[in-house]
């Protein structure tokens, strides 16, 4: 008998019911939470993740360095820019190059567009878990604004594959600034409506207040990341701790909440949406002129490629570019994505394929919450906690 089934069929105490939430359950993603409940109270919770596991770390070892970008995007396609930026930055650290300033700003713009889209997606799922179908539709409908903007910038709605070690692949399209301003203005109006409909809704508030409380100390101990740890009062944000892209030059705040419950995590996300709008506005106004790719590549470019870069402002990729060979060594890079901190650790042995890529995604680190926070809550609190930590199974399983 296998290990797993031994655990699943072990003898339970009297009066304890074992409920399997997932994987075929309308309230779970591609995961299973095994709940042992005494009446309505959860006594033990066991997250069983890995239903969409793809062993990306192994697959990455068999591809050329840059070709891993489309692979890692599949962790969280709704946050594709943020979750691949860390990988690109780790390669840049190995190569010892820095992207030109304009490329850094474009990276920031795309990262923030993705962050807003990711937050809206997570909150939409959260709303439907609480039975609030209107907010689900509103969040998803308004997310479309930012997905379309990302499409204008990169040509793709979700899987952008937009970065390149030492730059980005396209310049800002003409008229992008006005469209972005239009989108921001629309969204600022909508944020006020969200408040009336969702954040101040008495039913929603009664579901969230005091539920899933994580103290400051426990948050640090469990190693949760992203809006979840900031809602517990720890100002942990890679954008200010280890600034990357254009963040050190931009003026923004990282809001925190002290309450640490599901409501604080929700409000935290809404506050971050406001900050992201602020960053977007600044970035698009302050963006400097200049090249979008590191000059190191220009030497390798033929005349035709240079012409395309000059006139069409996009990088046409030569096959030779894919045979990138970073020098021997190791480097880590981390990035603040919508759900939290992405950590990449790459080991190079001088070949055109990585020797080892370690990726830790925020949802994987957040999944520990189910085990340590759920016990003591009611079964009906599960959707509130599950939704409020914004857990995304493909991201956790990698």
């Amino acid at each position: 008998m296998s290990q797993q089934s031994q655990i699943l069929t072990r003898r339970l105490d009297k009066d304890i019911l074992e409920v399997f939430i997932g994987p075929q359950h309308p309230g779970s993603g591609h995961m299973r939470i095994i709940l042992r409940v005494d009446g309505d109270i959860i006594v033990e919770a066991e997250p069983d993740i890995g239903f969409v596991h793809r062993t990306m770390e192994k697959l990455a070892e068999g591809r050329e360095w840059v070709k891993n970008q489309p692979l890692f995007e599949r962790m969280a396609i709704l946050d594709a820019a943020n979750c691949t930026l860390g990988y690109i930055m780790a390669i840049e650290k190995l190569l010892g190059i820095e992207p030109p300033p304009r490329a850094k700003y474009i990276r920031t713009i795309l990262a923030e567009l993705n962050r807003i889209a990711s937050h809206l997606y997570g909150m939409g799922i959260f709303a439907i878990l609480l039975g609030h179908s209107t907010m689900y539709m509103w969040f998803f409908g308004d997310r479309e604004v930012f997905v379309e903007l990302a499409e204008r910038l990169t040509g793709q709605r979700l899987t952008h594959s937009f970065f390149w070690p030492g730059g980005v692949r396209r310049d800002l399209p003409s008229g992008f600034k006005d469209e972005l301003e239009k989108g921001i203005k629309y969204f600022e109006k909508r944020l006020k409506e969200y408040e009336v409909m969702f954040l101040k809704n008495p039913v929603i508030r009664s579901r969230l207040e005091g539920v899933g409380y994580i103290s400051r100390q426990k948050a640090a101990e469990l190693g949760i990341v992203g809006p979840n740890i900031r809602a517990s009062g720890i100002r942990h944000d890679v954008r200010i701790e280890e600034p990357y892209a254009a963040y050190p030059e931009l003026d923004f705040e990282v809001p925190i909440y002290k309450e640490g419950d599901a409501l604080a995590r929700t409000l935290q996300r809404v506050d971050e949406l406001r900050e992201s709008l602020k960053i977007l506005r600044q970035a698009v106004n302050r963006i400097p002129e200049g090249p979008i790719l590191h000059e190191r590549y220009l030497k390798m470019f033929t005349k035709v490629l240079k012409d395309v870069l000059e006139t069409e402002k996009r990088v046409k990729l030569a096959p030779a570019l894919f045979n990138l060979r970073p020098p021997k060594g190791e480097a880590y890079a981390r990035v603040e994505a919508g759900r939290g901190e992405y950590f990449y650790y790459v080991v190079s042995d001088g070949q055109n394929k990585p020797y080892r890529v370690r990726v830790v995604s925020p949802s994987f680190r957040n999944s520990i919450v189910f085990k340590y926070v759920l016990p003591g809550h009611r079964v009906a609190d599960l959707p509130a906690i599950y939704g409020s930590i914004d857990y995304f199974p493909p991201e956790a399983d990698r």
Partner: protein
């Protein structure tokens, strides 16, 4: 022509007409189709989308539920091996039939009703309490953990809302001094609508019915993100469609009672005399009762677009801690109104 007249007579024979056509099965079906369609349309309007549109776009997708029903009817009804078969099959069917039974005694016009009895309010109130018990039976017979949890939640809720509803009905029959819907409506026509005589009772009844027919924010017993479909998790095909219809049928019946007790029954259209028997005794009064009931039902389903879902302990706390007391207060208010009526 004699055959046609015979047929018309047969169709208009009150027991048959009443139970099959209006306000019985066919009317309830049309009502459900309209109500579910408008629920989805209203929610769609609020949620920046169209709602049902694919089936007959010119009718704005109105026959969507008919299409759904055909699909349900053609689907295989899976009866799992582990269920207790007899109660599993009987429970939803019996619940649907009994949910419509109170219509036997609810009058739609002063002259046209199948069963004339002195205790019609009592009978209607008693019959409305039976279907939830069958839902609990369905959950128990399903032999599924989610069904069991759903049944347990339903049984907690029954204890709350049934007492509130019965207390409110008691307070109104105390106010009118009768247990007969006909007399209750007569009193309202002579005096004032019940909602003005005892507004607390009306609001309490409204909330308790929302709790009882699992409308948002009290959609707790079949909370999808927690316990899949509550007591109906194991049902499929037409049985599932039937199970879904139960709560709408119950809401319809409760709202008919609401109209008769609080909204003056068949006034104002019931007072018009045209001389045509069918028009005077069925269509005009019946239409006024039905339209009021539909409007109240629409108000109830609209909450889906605004609210989330309460947790069961919040709902029970609200039920026992606030609405139960309001129900007691409404009895007191009725007593005060009765006293005032006697004084003046």
């Amino acid at each position: 022509m004699a055959i046609v007249e015979r047929l018309v007579d047969l169709i208009l024979w009150p027991p048959l007409f009443y139970y099959i056509i209006f306000p019985g099965l066919i009317f309830v079906m049309i009502f459900e189709i309209f109500l579910i369609w408008s629920e989805r349309k209203i929610a769609g309007r609020v949620q920046m989308r169209y709602g049902p549109l694919e089936i007959a776009p010119r009718l704005a997708g109105a026959p969507q539920l008919l299409a759904d029903l055909i699909r349900y009817a053609l689907q295989e009804v899976i009866i799992p091996r582990t269920v207790d078969k007899l109660p599993f099959v009987i429970a939803p069917i019996a619940a649907f039939v009994i949910a419509l039974m109170p219509l036997i005694v609810t009058p739609f016009s002063p002259t046209f009703l199948p069963v004339t009895t002195e205790g019609s309010i009592l009978i209607a109130a008693a019959l409305t309490t039976i279907p939830p018990l069958l839902l609990i039976l369905a959950g128990w017979a399903s032999n599924n953990k989610f069904s069991l949890v759903g049944s347990a939640r339903e049984s907690f809720l029954i204890a709350t809302y049934e007492i509130i509803i019965l207390l409110v009905i008691a307070s109104m029959s105390f106010l009118y001094g009768t247990l007969d819907f006909l007399k209750a409506v007569e009193v309202q026509q002579a005096l004032l609508w019940g909602i003005l005589l005892n507004p607390i009772a009306a609001i309490t009844y409204f909330v308790a019915v929302m709790m009882g027919t699992s409308r948002f924010p009290f959609e707790i017993a079949e909370a999808e993100s927690e316990i899949v479909m509550g007591a109906f998790t194991e049902y499929s095909g037409i049985m599932f469609g039937l199970a879904m219809g139960i709560s709408y049928a119950r809401m319809f019946v409760y709202n008919i009672i609401f109209v008769l007790l609080f909204l003056g029954g068949w006034s104002p259209l019931g007072g018009i005399v045209t001389g045509n028997y069918i028009l005077d005794s069925i269509i005009l009064p019946g239409a006024s009762v039905a339209i009021k009931a539909v409007l109240i039902s629409l108000l109830m389903v609209f909450t889906r677009a605004v609210y989330g879902r309460y947790r069961i302990d919040h709902a029970l706390k609200g039920g026992w801690g606030f609405w139960f007391i309001m129900a007691l207060v409404s009895i007191g208010l009725s007593a005060a109104v009765v006293y005032l009526m006697e004084v003046f």
